[in-house]
Symmetry: C2
Subunit: 346 residues, 2 copies
């Protein structure tokens, strides 16, 4: 999404596919209400991102959430939730141990309540850096830190697929701590798109737009979820990132690698709606992908839990995309739906 | 299940986990009604099984199905469906090409309509023979034969999991051929159990029983699905296999590796009932496993399609087993549910 990387074979390539790390912290301390990840000093976050091989390039915040645009994608920091989404050849899992230390030292969090590490299969896994070259490597690192970790592969392992690592402790070993985040509704929609419409992708180049704001308007990104405070960035010579934040800590984030040979767009949000079907429709109409995956996480309190049922009934999306795969997993606190679509005729 | 294998480190071990291959054949020939896999001569099936590294040790049949007990598990041959289930270090995928040739040459089938290759994760993958040492190897072989093949891993890839390879052609490239098997109800229940009750396992040794019939009665296997014609076999010094067949081509099959260090029992049936919950309960009460996976395949016409809904609502099975995983996949013709349970407290 940011700058191109030149490969040893002389071909320009950039891996748009992000590694997405989301951690929910908690504490057994009775003073836990004062715990807040936003107490971690900015300089410490910057050092953390050096380990990941990226840096902060823009920042907005509101009362609930700090939103950073990075040289490779985004970071969101709330009271008890940390989200790091990084593309290219970044190494987010290498910052995990230092992050746990910072969360304890500065934010007062002694425990990881839940963790989600996920990514799509890369276009060029051979270009990744350890421990991100293979899911088995990533799982081995995570297993060394989390005894209750479980790893999944959704979708066809010999085609496009999507990897997830999360925690699945036995209920009796993990008593509910009153007053903390698991009692709130929570949901996340992610749409990962490839083979996108070249005319749409051209918007996200310095040839066609001066800056992020112009690209956001021209593509209609500001209309996907209205009333968001938008922080957008157009890279030189091409590539685009945006974070949007609204009240109650809701966010959206879009990252675009526009080059025709390896075009990639990711969309993510946690806004609560009765179904994500309409938002998915607006995202698809905006970017016109050749292929895309949809993942929806929701806990039992979330209003979005009908999305899976709706998508399960549809063999096609919007008359233009055939469903090739649909899978559901039920975890202790979350239900997850994964679906994969290709443009008709594919 | 058959005889023990002695390992290079001097420890006795036998891999009970089976590789399960199920193929549905069809033909575009207008004389397709005469096509029948049971026209393949026995001598040809015996040669085929040599490639797989096992042999026929017993046989029953009725009008709809030929059921073979093998030195390593079972084989079922119907008009258009071939099932080969083999444990130990057998190599069933190596017989795939010769089988396709036999199906054309003797049975009149020119096309594979559907294919399912599945297995649980092995206890000792290091002892397997190529191409069965790693799922990636198996997928590579299958991909070389089937352009529409899709491979899945269900359950946690870093714990107990279950692999599946099947075909997922685009609808328009695979028109329905009238009068053939996809228009019938079809379903399969499989329960794969490990860490079984030692007292139950002792039944399946020559110390405690004289022959298969005595073991079948003593364990109560004949009561799991009544009114089956049973062909059972007790191995020397231990291990047990049984096939049961009934009208309309329904079957059940059980294979038991009783040794405490690597105990394993598999149960499989295609009988149509409104829910598999009761049969699952009887199987668990019979064998008392420490852990087990349940998989249910059903097509849209199957009466068993409520099983998934019932199991989805239950965090436990029979008050004794905690559910650790539940996943669902929807294919073009089949829905699949996978669930994994461990004994409480695990």
């Amino acid at each position: 999404m940011a700058s191109d990387e030149t490969m040893s074979d002389g071909v320009q390539f950039f891996e748009g596919v992000e590694k997405l790390l989301e951690i929910w912290f908690t504490t057994s301390d009775c003073n836990g209400k004062a715990s807040d990840l936003r107490k971690i000093p900015r300089s410490k976050l910057e050092s953390l991102l050096k380990i990941v091989r990226c840096e902060i390039i823009s920042f907005v915040k509101n009362e609930q959430i700090d939103a950073y645009v990075l040289s490779e994608s985004s970071m969101f920091v709330s009271k008890s939730r940390f989200i790091l989404k990084t593309c290219g050849t970044t190494t987010p899992l290498l910052c995990l141990q230092p992050l746990l230390l910072l969360a304890e030292q500065y934010a007062g969090f002694t425990e990881v309540e839940d963790l989600f590490y996920s990514r799509k299969s890369y276009k060029r896994p051979d270009l990744q850096v350890s421990p991100h070259q293979h899911f088995d490597q990533e799982v081995a690192l995570l297993d060394s830190l989390f005894p209750d970790g479980v790893a999944y592969c959704l979708g066809a392992v010999n085609r496009d697929c999507w990897y997830l690592y999360t925690l699945n402790p036995l209920p009796q070993r993990h008593p509910q701590i009153p007053g903390l985040s698991t009692t709130d509704a929570d949901q996340t929609l992610e749409i990962l798109m490839t083979d996108l419409d070249p005319d749409v992708m051209a918007i996200f180049t310095k040839v066609e737009c001066l800056n992020g704001t112009e690209a956001t308007k021209k593509a209609g990104i500001d209309k996907i979820i209205p009333n968001m405070t938008i922080d957008d960035f157009l890279f030189e010579p091409c590539g685009y990132s945006m974070n949007g934040v609204s009240k109650n800590g809701y966010y959206m984030t879009i990252h675009i690698t526009p080059e025709p040979d390896f075009s990639y767009v990711s969309f993510e949000t946690n806004v609560p709606v009765s179904s994500y079907k309409e938002i998915i429709g607006r995202v698809l109409d905006t970017f016109l992908p050749g292929k895309f995956t949809v993942t929806v996480f929701n806990n039992q309190l979330s209003p979005t839990k009908d999305t899976s049922k709706e998508l399960l009934c549809l063999n096609q999306f919007g008359n233009r995309w055939d469903r090739r795969d649909i899978q559901q997993i039920s975890f202790k606190n979350y239900d997850l739906m994964y679906a994969f679509y290709t443009k008709f005729p594919s």
